[in-house]
Symmetry: C2
């Protein structure tokens, strides 16, 4: 059985890390006899948008819905296309239209990558952020009144549904249940955001009844971000609304020093639509074109994609491979961000070879 | 001229740290010949609420509006009163009704207080978070539909006004202008929260025209939290909406290890209504009653209050005094949270004596 993968490198360093992501996927496919086929799409600011004045063709949904997964680089080129246009015209469309309602990001200390936190070593920090990915604070409902005057009022609505909330909570509880510590932390702000968040808390309590083995706690988002810094070892699975999850899934990798190499999965768990796998980093206009971007985020995202497609062994082998290359720490291989003198290709090649 | 101060110790450790805050204020008042008068109020869960079933009497506004400032401990006792009730019934009422539209919090590495970040020392981190404190994401507008069913939808509106936004930006630009680095960072999320936040960005640009000497940058809130951990030295003054400011002003002190001792000012800059000064920490039910809470947050808040009342020299003297006591690091004086064997009173007394 062939897995059909849509490949969208996107903008900037997306185009540089994607070939290494594919290289490592191909090496894994060979070793584990997995049949992958790739088809490329040019949906990016500096590509499709530059030619057609929009991010994607009108029939993008039909073009992509038949794929088993989307392998994504990074989108955005603010010099020519404002971010809210490029993102709402592509990435955020996928998340919504393909109902990728789970955004999953691992936060893990890696060998050879310096964490900004004092006195932490690999093994100390190893948790997942499960983020709601389709509704909540990222809504398109709202508008302006008295525009351009001193009386101007701007409103944006947070919209949460029981359907949307319960399914992300369920996913998070299942994930927690499958892990040794069986611990779930909910991000809330029920003391300040006094309509939606107390209700979110109630849904967590309701869902917890179905998972008696999972121990549950909650923190307000302000002190939760503080605890990511002070006590990152407390966490196992953290579940959060769209905005809170967005924040926590950047902050978590920042605490482990892995923000440049962290992966992310946008998942439709039922497999009705393709899921999307992308590094957490963006298109990085400041280093684009230099060939020095670290490809591990793309490669690790590829591992998450293989796991989603049912190849956990191959996924684990990729992670083991890049951890080994990081541990070896050959300066000629590593990219400059992790104190090497190599480049995107040398690091990608070394990881593929290790496989 | 007498400054009339309303004193509200609140719940839990609020009652333990407040006497030390007052002790130090009295010492400063004596040394700098400042005339302070204090009047106590019992607006707390375990006090007024327990007797009357509400947080404050109906005429609280009239009772308090004539004071020059409110010196606040900590409110909240979730075992008996849910947080959103105690807070919307007191603290959040003050912020709104007394139009304390600025929430100001310093983030500063202190001598003798261990930061969770590696390789940072006093002087490396020293910035302010300026938070909008009356509108935005903390709104009371919204509600539920199809309640209790599978179709349930819950909505809460973020409401921003030009009036409310411009005045907090103005305060932040003025503060940045008054500091040596003259640098302002704006917290945004215009790539995801696509109605209110792009508009916030426009207001920042418009205001920056009036402050040509201030250099301005902006970050999306997700990567901004990451940068607080990775590059806390980048920041001088950070301005943010109500929710983003709430997060950043807990995360900032967490990065400096000072979350248990950080102060906070809720300011009505025009002085039309009393401003309110409170430690960042809460009522801490887990250690309440033991007499071991660290009183520096309350004492430092007192310093901010004196500065607001026009006594900058006295305010600086208080900060110098507790920095000296921290530097001296006598275990018999310090509280257990900072590796001492003393208690709330021993630390408060030592600081007062130093003055
Ligand atoms: C207690 C809570 C409502 C409050 C807030 O979020 O404003 C607190 O976190 C603060 O920052 O003062
Ligand atoms: C680019 C942006 C809209 C996006 C988000 O906020 O969802 C990004 O930060 C992410 O986390 O994938």
């Amino acid at each position: 059985m062939t897995h059909r993968i849509a490949v969208i490198p996107g903008d900037g360093i997306g185009n540089e890390v994607m070939p290494e992501g594919l290289r490592v996927l191909e090496a894994a496919a060979k070793r584990f006899a997995i049949d992958l086929s790739f088809e490329h799409f040019d949906f990016a600011c500096c590509d499709y948008y530059a030619k057609h004045g929009k991010m994607m063709p009108d029939n993008w949904f039909e073009q992509l819905e038949g794929f088993d997964a989307i392998f994504y680089g990074a989108v955005g080129w603010p010099d020519t296309v404002p971010d809210h246009i490029s993102l709402w015209g592509s990435l955020l469309q996928f998340r919504r239209q393909f109902d990728q309602y789970i955004n999953l990001r691992p936060c893990k200390l890696l060998p050879g990558i310096k964490s900004p936190l004092a006195d932490r070593k690999p093994g100390d920090i190893d948790f997942y952020v499960v983020r709601e990915n389709t509704e909540g604070e990222y809504s398109s409902v709202g508008g302006k009144m008295f525009e351009g005057t001193d009386r101007e009022v701007v409103i944006q609505e947070t919209v949460m549904t029981r359907h949307g909330t319960d399914r992300v909570l369920k996913f998070a509880f299942e994930l927690a249940q499958s892990r040794p510590r069986k611990k779930l932390t909910s991000a809330t702000k029920s003391n300040g955001i006094a309509i939606t968040m107390p209700w979110w808390d109630e849904r967590v309590v309701a869902m917890s009844g179905h998972y008696p083995e999972v121990s549950v706690d909650k923190f307000h988002i302000d002190i939760l971000t503080a605890n990511f810094v002070m006590h990152p070892d407390w966490f196992d699975v953290v579940v959060a609304s769209n905005l809170f999850g967005d924040i926590l899934s950047d902050l978590g990798p920042a605490c482990t020093g892995t923000i440049g190499v962290a992966p992310s999965a946008n998942i439709n768990p039922e497999g009705k639509f393709p899921s999307l796998f992308e590094p957490v980093h963006g298109s990085a206009p400041d280093i684009a074109g230099k060939g020095i971007a670290n490809p591990i985020g793309q490669i690790w995202s590829g591992a998450m994609m293989l796991e989603h497609l049912g190849h956990k062994e191959a996924a684990d082998a990729i992670v083991t491979a890049f951890e080994a290359v990081l541990e070896e720490a050959d300066p000629a291989v590593l990219t400059p961000d992790i104190r090497g003198q190599g480049n995107t290709q040398s690091l990608g090649r070394a990881i593929a070879q290790r496989l």
